[in-house]
């Protein structure tokens, strides 16, 4: 997919650089609203978890971990539920808006991991984790990035579906049944959150590694000197 590109002539030096419009407005809006709502959902989720930090029986109760209150949001169970049940609508709304716009505009091709990306994953892993040579960049996102983003979007969908099963195990009893019952739906919801946190961690590391221009592109949409243009 061809992105909109522009040549920029520096008014002082006359030097010409390039910039590519990578992220449409809706993508940037959803990204940042989603970042905030994910933060709230995880924080309040931990406070909710503190009320019964287990996935076994209530009697006898065996706690899985004692999550510190300092890393939880809402103060108490009722307060956390208020945050969780408010921001879930924002989380779902931005998710639907994002997925809808990506499909409608065709921009999803930039992100969606498809079969032909498969062969490119290992060279990227080799480069990042085992000091291998850097594979040439051909698109906005390399195959490993596409894999990560597609997974994150999938996790987002799953977090909403498992959440729905936990919130409404009667009205959506079929959903809870698909997940192995209410009890397991709650466990899936919890595990999916950790998978999402793993993505966020990797994502933030990459943001730091890839520098300022890359970060700015998620704010303005424009990325200056993208590596795949100069190849």
């Amino acid at each position: 997919m061809a992105s909109r590109a522009i040549e920029i002539e520096d008014v002082k030096t006359g030097e010409v650089t390039e910039a590519v419009y990578e992220h449409p407005f809706v993508v940037r809006l959803c990204h940042w609203v989603n970042a905030v709502s994910l933060f709230v959902m995880v924080g309040s989720g931990f406070q909710i978890f503190r009320a019964f930090p287990s996935f076994g029986a209530k009697i006898p109760q065996k706690d899985l971990l004692n999550w510190p209150k300092a890393f939880a949001l809402g103060g108490w169970l009722g307060g956390a539920l208020q945050w969780h049940l408010t921001f879930m609508w924002i989380y779902i709304a931005t998710g639907l808006l994002y997925i809808g716009c990506q499909i409608f505009s065709g921009n999803y091709k930039q992100v969606l991991f498809v079969r032909r990306d498969l062969s490119g994953v290992w060279p990227m892993v080799h480069h990042y984790f085992f000091f291998g040579p850097k594979p040439p960049a051909r698109e906005t996102y390399n195959p490993l990035q596409k894999h990560a983003y597609t997974s994150a979007i999938g996790l987002g969908v799953l977090s909403a579906l498992t959440g729905l099963a936990v919130w409404k195990p009667v009205q959506f009893s079929w959903l809870a049944w698909l997940m192995g019952g209410f009890h397991l739906a709650r466990l899936w919801h919890f595990l999916i959150m950790w998978a999402m946190l793993a993505f966020v961690f990797g994502h933030l590391v990459m943001v730091v590694l890839h520098g300022w221009n890359n970060f700015v592109s998620m704010l303005t949409g424009w990325k200056q000197d993208p590596d795949y243009r100069s190849e």
Binding site: E7, V16, V33, S37, Q61, G78, W83, W89, V170
Partner: protein, 239 residues
């Protein structure tokens, strides 16, 4: 083919794109103490509104065979005050008031004269745990018919021997699995599980299923929502 611009114009374009994101800043309202409470209240209210829309009168909560039952001694006892408010069973009646044709004091025998239903259903606590119990009693809808509840009344409110109070929307109260429960696991209710009469509402969260009932009121408007709701929990909390 790429178009060309100079660095000054590019800065303007970039700034304009950045400013488009200002709606994100609106989320900061949640961080302002004066706004946080009303915003979260509105959010919870929206969730309750959606919950009421999602409720289907004809949709039954899953039921389970006996092999899925949580052993009775592992069925948790939750209270906000005391396990046993020391109800005097000999003098106990359910006092019915409000929009009904036949208000008054109903004895347990009068209630038990209605058709009995027994069901193995899941009890979900707001804390996150769940158990499957065997509940026996009469349909709340049968009782509402018996007392001649007004056909357009919208709420059923109960009060309890331990000063707990709760309320149900009429659609939930009329649901076929909503019970005035006097038996658990085939035995009369024990004191800590709400003897002599409690609510068993498998389409609602646990705190809605009040124990040690003493009063039942049918009304058009909701005067008291519930003990935990008044502390900030969801008013509808349908499952």
């Amino acid at each position: 083919m790429s178009s060309r611009t100079d660095s000054r114009k590019f800065k303007t374009i970039s700034r304009r794109e950045l400013l488009k994101l200002t709606p994100v800043v609106a989320l900061g309202a949640f961080a302002i103490p004066q706004l946080q409470k009303p915003l979260l209240k509105a959010g919870l209210g929206f969730s309750d509104w959606a919950s009421a829309r999602l409720f289907r009168s004809g949709h039954l909560a899953p039921t389970f065979t006996d092999s899925f039952l949580t052993p009775f001694n592992q069925f948790p006892v939750n209270d906000y005050d005391v396990d046993d408010p020391e109800v005097d069973f000999d003098k106990w009646t359910l006092t019915v008031t409000g929009e009904v044709q036949k208000p008054g004091d109903y004895t347990l025998a009068q209630i038990q004269a209605l058709p009995k239903f027994t069901q193995n259903t899941r009890h979900v606590c707001v804390e996150g745990w769940d158990v499957i119990g065997r509940f026996g009693g009469v349909r709340l809808s049968d009782f509402l018919k018996m007392i001649g509840a007004h056909p357009t009344a919208r709420f059923v409110t109960v009060e309890c021997a331990d000063d707990y109070y709760e309320s149900l929307d009429m659609a939930t109260a009329m649901h076929p699995q909503s019970l005035l429960c006097y038996e658990m696991y085939g035995q009369p209710l024990t004191r800590e599980h709400g003897a002599p009469l409690r609510l068993s509402i498998p389409t609602k969260i646990g705190y809605k299923q009040a124990k040690y009932l003493t009063d039942l009121k049918v009304s058009h408007v909701l005067e008291k929502v519930g003990y935990w709701e008044d502390q900030g929990y969801s008013e509808f909390y349908g499952l």
